[in-house]
């Protein structure tokens, strides 16, 4: 049933996010640390396990896949709710302070990708 898939996804989300909240508390930070990341890893592991045990039927899978298909529409809604006015009207300094760091980081990507890729072949 589709709801089983949604339920599995919700389980991963809840467990991962709460874990992220606790890690944040633990290191004394007022933010969720990696909650989504933990949830994703949990989903990958559960999905793997269910497939091996043959518990996963297509309709259960559809409950999860529906949400990954809804991802882009959600992103469109998210971008429509960003504070773009502040970004545009906050003056040149804020614009540069937002863009320059991105350019610096872009510059090191090929380098980082290369050193980590070459070590994979070993």
């Amino acid at each position: 049933m589709i709801i089983y898939g949604v339920g599995i996804l919700a389980f991963c989300y809840v467990v991962g996010q709460i874990f992220g909240e606790f890690i944040g508390k633990l290191i004394g930070v007022d933010a969720n640390v990696g909650g989504v990341g933990f949830a994703m890893i949990l989903l990958i592991l559960i999905n793997d396990w269910l497939k091996k045990k043959n518990y996963l039927d297509t309709s259960t899978e559809k409950g999860i896949l529906f949400w990954s298909q809804m991802y882009i529409p959600i992103v469109v809604a998210m971008s429509a709710t960003q504070n773009v006015k502040v970004a545009v009207s906050s003056g040149f300094m804020a614009i540069l302070a937002g863009i320059v760091p991105v350019l610096i980081c872009i510059a090191v990507i090929p380098f980082l990708a290369k050193i980590s890729k070459s070590s994979q072949i070993d």
């Binding site: 991802y71 992103v75 971008s79 863009i99 090191v108």
Partner: protein
Amino acid sequence: MEIISKFLEKNGIVFTFLVVSLIIYFSELISVKATNKKIPGSAIAIIIGLFLAYVGGVATGGEKGIADIKIFSGFGVLGGSMFRDFAIVSTAMGASFIVIKRTGWAGVISLFLGITLSFIGGVFIALLWGYHDAISLTTIGAGACTYIVGPVTGAAIGASSDVIALSIAAGVVKAVFVTIGTPFIAKYIGLNNPHTAMVYGGLMGTTSGVSAGLAATDPKLVPYGALTATFYTGLGCLFCPSLLFIIMKIVFV
């Protein structure tokens, strides 16, 4: 008219499904007819979204873009962090654990490098604009990480509210810039595989920017970029008001 607008307000999220589906439909149309599929439909849809956010902000003076216009308040729910994170988690279904494990350490390096480089970049710009005290410099540098790290750091070290506002603005500019820029720079930096996507997510860090940018580039890359980016804000909130602030205090008294 009033009956309609009241109805739309009450049924916000369903009305949002309708509006977003129309935006995506027209974006696909523009993508095929006007750009010969050179610019992906999702990239056009996201840019339309940002444009609507600007219109909403100007029309209402609020902070939540189009969602501040009452009949479009459903955008705030569908585009809020709960549905966004829920949908991001679901994309992990298509991710390969082997790739993640293999790229793991590059992702960790990219996180620390991303926070440090963004911070330095922000501090550098703040210096050019005449800020010389460690508190303001640290807050603006933190804002260059993400728009959450900026205010969290500023509040922790006692920055003035205008500097905190600046740091938020810098973070928002970053998110918007990464959203729009990613599909265009992707081919120049080799952003076409899960491996580079993980490095990219760690370096850029803005979850909204990275996930939207990758969605417009190649939806298959989203889980990898999002996986590393999700650690960035937390780590930034950890390092900016502590280690990086201490370094700034030593350098700028």
